[in-house]
């Protein structure tokens, strides 16, 4: 099996990203690694019920000032773009929660008065859900900066497996942080005005990255037909449709995988993987052509 990275994203929240990512990982079994990059609200573990073997805190470096060495020159405050360190009167104040961890103040302090401590962003937990290798990040509640934690989750990508990344909703920096470097992006949406609007925004972001993508239409029989229209106009392949079914919703509510509550979807997800693999292979020469 060729290793690859497949991201599952959506634009709009609650369209079924986690449902798709977990079922795809489950049918691929030991060849798959599932990484939950929605670190603000990770949910893959609710459905996969992994046995977590390891937990590692992730921190961003923040300045610690040695008052004895500090000459109060104010250089640190001048260079900090994030207002996280400032000299006021005869003391240096730090605001570690604003710090991006660039290390500028530590590097440029003429007195070498600044060292680095850490602000905990959250934890990364790893383990196995049955045969599937499992990784997720959990952002500490109250922490605003998710991208560095997402980067840390992505450092755990197993290059020998099919890595499936569950992305956060939206289209801003946490999503880009997740999907950059993927071989393929599965967009999960629903056929509603909100679903379409947010799909368009997310597709705009992905087009800039030049990664091939396809759409899964969830609850495909509600709403209207405009997502179909958008996809065919844009030439975006429709990978699968999942009609609304009460028992799917009820299974999800109880924390069951889609392929468990409705086993006929095992074949759907196996076919989905084959389609993605073919699209990646078909797309590679095309991408190299457009890049050169």
């Amino acid at each position: 099996m060729t290793p690859m990275i497949i991201s599952v994203a959506s634009g709009k929240g609650g369209t079924g990203k986690t449902t798709v990512a977990t079922s795809l990982a489950w049918v691929l079994g030991s060849t798959a690694q599932l990484l939950d990059c929605d670190v603000e609200e990770p949910n893959c573990h609710v459905l996969m019920k992994p046995v977590l073997q390891e937990s590692q805190p992730v921190a961003v470096p923040v300045p610690v000032v040695d008052a004895n060495k500090c000459s109060l020159c104010g250089k640190c405050g001048e260079i900090c773009r994030f207002s996280s360190i400032v000299v006021i009167g005869n003391q240096v104040l730090t605001f570690p929660e604003m710090c991006h961890g660039c290390g500028g103040c530590t590097l440029l302090c003429p007195e070498n008065a600044i060292t680095e401590g850490g602000r905990e962003l959250g934890v990364i937990e790893t383990g196995f859900a049955g045969p599937v290798e499992f990784v997720h990040g959990r952002l500490r509640v109250g922490e605003a900066m998710s991208p560095p934690l997402i980067r840390a989750v992505k450092h755990r990508i197993n290059r020998h497996k099919i890595a499936i990344l569950d992305a956060p909703p939206g289209a801003s920096c946490p999503v880009i942080q997740t999907i950059t470097g993927s071989d393929f992006i599965v967009m999960v949406t629903e056929p509603t005005p909100f679903g379409l609007h947010d799909l368009k925004i997310a597709v705009g972001a992905i087009e800039d990255l030049g990664i091939p993508l396809g759409v899964i239409l969830n609850r495909s029989d509600i709403g209207d037909g405009e997502v179909h229209g958008f996809c065919s106009q844009k030439g975006i392949p429709l990978l699968a449709e999942i009609p609304h079914e009460r028992r799917i919703a009820e299974g999800y509510a109880r924390g069951n995988l889609l392929v468990d509550s409705t086993p006929q979807y095992v074949d759907t997800f196996l076919e989905l993987f084959v389609t993605i693999r073919d699209l990646i292979n078909g797309n590679r020469p095309h991408l190299e052509e457009t890049k050169s």
Binding site: E40, R81, G101, I201
Partner: protein
């Protein structure tokens, strides 16, 4: 003036649909769409934009090839891996910290502020609205959220409007924190699924940190009554309260397809439940 912020933790639980219903039911309010990277409220309230401004947030490093001596110092000190071996800046990785500007001995690096999005003030069929769109992939959603809220509050003060309704973002990160800072009331919309419960607990923990009173609405409450009861218990433990349950009702989607909010479409079960919730909220919000 009071400001009610509607959040959810988990995405897709019905924040925007419910905000639009409150916008229809509240007599006098300013709307603010603070889900700036996937703003949808405009779809239901039909804004006519009468003021639009650029949003400039993140600065990005730019290297002047003429001045550059290729010493690689910028690349070596960049903690974000934003400068590659050919000394090209990747704007998606650049944090705009400016360390490269300071370490460059040739003054070849500068920070350039880019356009990150737009924000607007509009008239909608339910009153004034402040909304924004962040460019796909852009940073600084927290700053844009703060800007939208400030504009909405200013507008309310100027026009002596007693209520600001804020449609928030999913998650518990940067844009959500920014939408909660200084708010008066929070409403968390959740659904009775184990994921919805898990995410609501995290959102509630965040709200408690801000010491803002929170109400909870359980949407699609009949999907799993047992989880709905657990949500009630968790809310109580967190000094919060479930203020209403909305049954699953296909009419909600049908209204959305017609670009209307659910309470406009006659007497559906969801519509009745939402009107009941508003009646319970209104005395506190409008006092």
């Amino acid at each position: 003036m009071k400001e009610l912020v509607i959040i959810s933790g988990k995405g897709g639980t019905g924040k925007t649909s419910l905000t639009a219903c409150f916008a229809f039911l509240a007599p006098n309010k300013v709307l603010a769409d603070c889900d700036v990277d996937a703003a949808d409220l405009h779809i239901l309230v039909h804004p006519e934009i009468h003021h639009e401004e650029d949003f400039r947030g993140a600065a990005k490093a730019a290297i002047d090839r003429e001045k550059c001596s290729q010493c690689q110092k910028c690349r070596e000190t960049c903690r974000f891996g934003a400068i590659n071996a050919e000394l090209v800046v990747n704007p998606l990785s650049c944090e705009g910290c400016g360390v490269c500007v300071h370490v460059c001995s040739e003054q070849a690096v500068s920070l350039e502020e880019g356009l990150n999005g737009h924000w607007c003030i509009s008239d909608t069929r339910f009153g004034p609205m402040v909304h924004a769109s962040l460019f796909p992939g852009a940073e600084n959603s927290g700053k844009l959220v703060a800007l939208v809220r400030n504009q909405a509050r200013d507008l309310a003060r100027k026009k002596e409007i007693p209520l600001v309704l804020v449609d928030g973002a999913p998650g518990v990160g940067c844009p959500v924190i920014s939408s909660l800072t200084g708010a008066d009331r929070v409403l968390i919309v959740t659904e009775p699924t184990l994921s919805g419960l898990h995410d609501m607990e995290r959102a509630m923990q965040l709200v408690r940190g801000f010491r803002i009173p929170a109400w909870v609405v359980i949407n699609k409450c009949d999907i799993n009554p047992e989880v709905a009861d657990r949500i009630e218990q968790v809310a109580l433990r967190n000094e919060s309260k479930v203020i209403g349950r909305i049954p699953y009702d296909p009419e909600v989607i049908q209204s959305m397809v017609q670009r209307r909010c659910a309470v406009e479409n006659g007497d559906s079960s969801a519509s009745r439940a939402i009107r009941g919730i508003w009646e319970r909220l209104a005395p506190d919000l409008l006092s």
